[in-house]
Amino acid sequence: MNGCFELATSERLRLERVEGTIFDIQRYSLHDGPGLRTNVFFKGCPLRCGWCSNPESQQRPPELAVFASQCIRCGQWGDACPDGWHAQPDEHWKQNARAEYARRAALCPAGGVRWIGERRTAGDVLAEVKRDAVFYEDGGGMTLTGGEPVLQGDFAEALLRLACAECIHTAIETCGHYPWPALERLLPHLDVVLFDVKHVDNATHRAHTGVGNELILANLRRLAARSAPVIIRVPLIPGFNATVEQILALGEMLVGLDGAITRVDVLPYHTLARAKYAALARPYPWQGQAGLSDEEVESLAGELRGMGLTVTVGG
């Protein structure tokens, strides 16, 4: 574990006051680093992956969401809160709907209409992370994920330093798309980095995530050279990278890195986020793609294992 050092009181108080925007703190997370973990989901991401399972993580500002399935017909407004609430083509209507649902969010008794994302201080978030400390003793701890934690560097650093001071194991899951120093400043406070690698081909990467992969791969090479423990996270996305050819190319790139790769987690594509796209009234870009069978996933994982990599399915 990194650190476990005392923070000067003044420094601790300063760090506790640093604010950031998050959309969830998920305790008892099982697939995002060793042991049992508390995930802190940061809001805001430089990528726009079509298959994203946390669409609410992409934009930084808080967003309004309407989970129509949770509407209990409370009768406060005379009507039910519907699916596709502002999916009308009419911009004017959309604006009105937004104002209307913002009003409802304050009074919705079922939590179906709600704002996603809130400003929290690092001290406040860490207090919640510490609540599960009794479950961290066997290697668990805190994972910063999102969204992209590195984009809120001050907040991420504050959380990591406060956690280190409490001897809580720290991890970050990152997309890798930012100037190197942004990640570098966090490394002294991280026990493990979960680094997403999606595709080796720059153009395909750009087409489906909105950005090229040059920066990401360059950062990965620098990271690997640091000999910090790194877990590579590869989403297996049908119609994007879930082919033997692509996976072999990706594996080759990973094998070419210096030996700091602890293991590779392949994360099979799933559509669990569909209801969230509907709640945010956004189209689901990866609509219509068939999922992967367990056999297909195992066979792709097997290709990577064949190259000498340690691979888990599902993290």
Partner: protein, 837 residues
């Protein structure tokens, strides 16, 4: 290296990971299982018939003698059978799973329900017309005016009866024997019937001398018990001077009864062997040999130990016909016999596993006939053969052994409801054992349940149990904690409805429906100026009803001692023989009465709602809330939703509400523990309900936590209300851990639900074990894990409100089952259903 040495070096060989997903009972086991499943449940008349005739012949004699004679008559006269597929034999009725009637307990409700037993909603039995006739003409008339039930009803003070009628608490075991006890299995195995007879004779001989001993001799080493577990003779009618000789005479008759029954099985097997064809003939001859030996002598090998264990429970059931005679730590008791046979090569590991499973099947042959009312509280014939594995030895070292793994494997192989399997865990429990237990849990039977030495042992010591006895605790029935062979815990004495009492408090002690004053006259919610004032009223009501509950329990306890002395049971509870005192009269070394507080979650959620809505944020007036409750939220759905969703709820690690759970859970414990029962031991609190949260909810009107009138209370005992726990499994555990559960030494129950995916694969099992380790550190006494079925998930689609806590865990993703879209929910359901098939 022989097989025993190998196993001792690596106990996991008894249940290796590669066998976790298999189901491999042997052919005989499968056949017995099929037969049990296909045997219809019927009403047995013989226990009632021979008990009636026996009692008619013994009128005027001391009760212990009458009870022992009854057992002897039953042992000699009841029909017995050996099924063609059996190697371990014996039952308390002719056919398995028969509903046995003990008329000395009650006949009224049986008479009333006789015609509906085949069709009633819960726990049905077939009844032959000639059985109905015999019961109504020859049995019931004798018993009217002579049953325990009538005696109790005649003696319970009016104020107690009114509180019971007002649904403040229940009095249990008013119509049958107490049960709920752990007999001394190791001593039974070690001494056998002959050895026990010698012990009784020696103890009795002391009274033939000119100066009989008084009091009974101090225990070896002279370590007097630190606590008040000794009955005061003046409290115990029929105890004390003069009673001992009667006790010993009754005990000797009971031992004759035991020998008689076992010998009859030997005779029957011999007889059947004459006409049997090989290989069955040899099997029957072996059965005859084993029974012939055990009729007088102690068990010598694994098979004899299993058979002797089963005979013990058959005899206890014949004598008492009660729930929850629990075997306890079978992995400890049977180990020496297993070791002998595996070392000598007399048994192979697979053969020993099969033998163990024959005993496991036997535990499924006894069901308890309950009244419709009782079956609502304890649905599905739970008979409480609780077996607990692992934990600590008397010296504090880990007790897990190869037999612990074999018992887990038996549960995996059979998947039956009995024995009610439990494990004990502590800080040094082996990882392999927890992982294997998790693999069995993942099969979805809710077993094994998990008990936590780190809080239970200190809790037992706090009650005056010496440390080495405390470390040897086991589980009675469902989740109750007791000491094998040492205690009469009467763990199911009463259930105390704290939610009902809160309801009465809100309405000034009156029932909101009828206006009838049931509790003390205290100010109503709309007459108090602060939450503190309301809580003061609640405190007064709780203290009032706890005192009444104790009075009621004392009456029932006294009647048990007077009418249902249990000479056979007293042979296998330590100190009864030395003291010459029946276990029901207080002969056991430790004596408790266990009373359950029901239900912490609803009390905490309701008080938090009142605090926030009425006294802090003022968005609801006290009068308005009372009116809404009285109207069962009719026309106030929005208010109900706000109370559910806008107020913190127990189970989310939120101190604003958890502090009420802590305050009132602990307060209940503190109110209960100063009372002493008439056997000389303390009352001790527990928090469990099994299925009683449903009927007990039916007794309570709408509550401020948003629960509608008559709806079930929170389940289990310490569980959050259904669907109110929305954060995480760890948050639930943290909420529960805020109570001082060392006080809840009678036992607690926490239910948690998981989707099957939490158990898929070795990595998932390891993460599950991490949760168990956290549970252990949090010092929560008990948890039971339910793997949700496809059916449950369909229910979650219909009533999402009750299942909001069901989480889906995928890497880097956050969601709840109820928030997924319909199509995906269906996909998860079909995957779950597929895994179940």
């Amino acid at each position: 290296m022989n097989q025993w040495d190998e196993l001792r070096a690596n106990p996991t060989l008894a249940f290796p990971p590669e066998s976790w997903s298999e189901v491999c009972p042997d052919a005989r086991t499968a056949e017995i299982r099929r037969r049990l499943r296909e045997t219809p449940r019927q009403i047995d008349v013989e226990r009632a018939r021979y008990t009636t005739r026996s009692y008619q012949c013994t009128e005027g004699q001391p009760m212990p003698i009458r009870r022992a004679t009854m057992l002897l008559d039953l042992a000699g006269q009841m029909s017995i059978t050996i099924h063609d597929d059996e190697l371990i034999v014996g039952n308390r009725s002719l056919l398995p799973r028969m509903g046995v009637i003990a008329p000395e307990g009650a006949v009224e409700w049986i008479d009333r329900e006789l015609d509906i037993l085949p069709t009633r909603p819960q726990d049905r039995f077939q009844v032959a017309p000639e059985v109905v006739r015999e019961l109504r003409e020859e049995v019931f008339p004798y018993w009217r005016g002579r049953t325990l039930e009538e005696a109790v009803a005649g003696r319970v003070p009016a104020a107690v009866a009114a509180a019971v009628a007002g649904k403040a608490f229940s009095l249990n075991q008013t119509d049958h024997a107490q049960g709920h006890i752990l007999p001394d299995v190791p001593t039974w195995l070690r001494l056998g019937i002959g050895g026990l007879r010698a012990q009784v004779a020696a103890a009795r001989a002391r009274f033939d001398e000119p100066n009989p001993p008084t009091p009974f001799p101090a225990r070896e080493g002279g370590d007097e018990l630190p606590s008040p577990h000794r009955a005061c003779p003046e409290l115990v009618e029929g105890g004390g001077a003069g009673g001992e000789v009667i006790f010993y005479d009754a005990a000797l008759i009971a031992l004759d009864a035991a020998a008689t029954l076992i010998r009859r099985y030997a005779d029957l097997a011999e007889q059947m062997a004459v006409d049997a064809v090989p290989p069955r003939r040899a099997e029957l001859q072996e059965i005859a040999g084993v029974c012939r030996w055990l009729a007088e002598n102690p068990a010598r090998d694994f098979r004899e130990a299993l058979q002797a264990t089963w005979f013990l429970f058959v005899l206890l059931q014949i004598e008492s016909n009660a729930s929850s005679f629990s075997p306890g730590r079978l992995d400890q008791y049977l180990l020496p016999y297993l070791a002998t046979d595996l070392s000598s090569g007399a048994l192979t590991l697979p053969a020993a596993q099969a033998w163990l499973e024959y005993l496991w099947l036997k535990f499924n042959e006894v069901v308890l006939l309950r009244s419709s009312a009782s079956a609502r509280y304890f649905a599905g014939f739970p008979i409480g053969f609780n077996v607990v594995l692992g934990g600590q030895l008397a010296d504090g070292k880990d007790a897990t052994n190869p037999l612990s793994y074999m018992c887990l494997r038996a549960q995996a192989d059979l998947g039956l409801t009995q024995p009610n399997l439990s494990i004990r865990i502590h800080r040094d429990s082996p990882q392999d054992f927890l992982r294997a237990a998790a693999a069995v849990i993942s099969r979805g039977s809710g077993m094994p349940q998990v008990f936590n030495d780190e809080v239970i042992i200190p809790g037992q010591i706090r009650r005056g149990i010496v440390p080495q006895d405390a470390r040897n605790y086991a589980v009675v029935g469902c989740v109750e904690l007791s000491n094998p062979g040492l205690a009469l815990g009467w763990s199911d004495a009463s259930m105390f409805n704290m939610v009902r009492i809160l309801e009465l408090t809100l309405f000034g002690g009156a029932d909101p429906g009828t206006g009838v004053q049931i509790g003390l006259p205290t100010p109503r919610l709309d007459q108090v100026g602060s939450l503190a004032e309301l809580e003061a009223a609640y405190d007064a009501q709780m203290a009032h009803f706890v005192a009444l509950m104790v009075k009621g329990c004392d009456v029932v306890d006294a009647m048990h001692a007077e009418m249902l002395s249990s000479p056979f049971l007293s042979l296998v509870i330590q100190d009864c023989i030395e003291r010459g005192m029946d276990v029901t009269a207080g002969g056991a070394r430790y004596n408790f009465s266990g009373v359950q507080g029901v239900q912490v979650a609803n009390v905490a959620d309701s008080l938090a709602a009142i605090e926030q809505a009425v006294f802090e944020e003022h968005w609801l007036s006290a009068g308005e809330l009372l009116a809404a409750l009285q109207a069962n939220f009719a026309g106030r759905e929005l208010l109900r939703q706000r109370l559910i969703n806008r107020v913190p709820k127990y189970g989310n690690d939120d101190d604003r509400v958890d502090r009420f759970a802590r305050r009132w859970g602990d307060r209940y414990s503190k109110l209960v523990e100063p009372y002493r029962n008439r056997r000389g031991g303390p009352y001790q609190p527990g928090f469990y309900t099994v299925s009683a949260h449903v009927p007990m909810g039916a007794d309570v009107g709408a509550t401020p936590d948003g629960r509608r009138a008559g709806e079930p209370l929170a389940d289990g005992g310490l569980s959050p209300s259904a669907g109110r726990d929305r954060r995480s499994a760890t948050a639930v555990l943290r909420s529960v851990s805020k109570l001082n559960l060392e006080l809840a030494s009678n036992g607690t129950l926490l239910n948690m639900k998981f989707l099957p995916a939490f158990f898929t694969g070795m990595a998932a099992l390891d993460k599950f074990v991490l949760l168990l380790r956290g549970f252990c550190r949090l010092k929560i006494p008990h948890v039971q894990f339910n793997v949700v079925s496809a059916e449950t998930l369909r229910q979650a689609q219909v009533c999402p409100e009750d299942y909001r806590g069901l989480v889906v865990r995928v890497a880097g993703y956050s969601a709840y089952f109820t928030e997924l879209d319909r199509e995906l929910q269906n996909e998860i359901i079909s995957r779950t259903a597929f895994a179940e098939a």
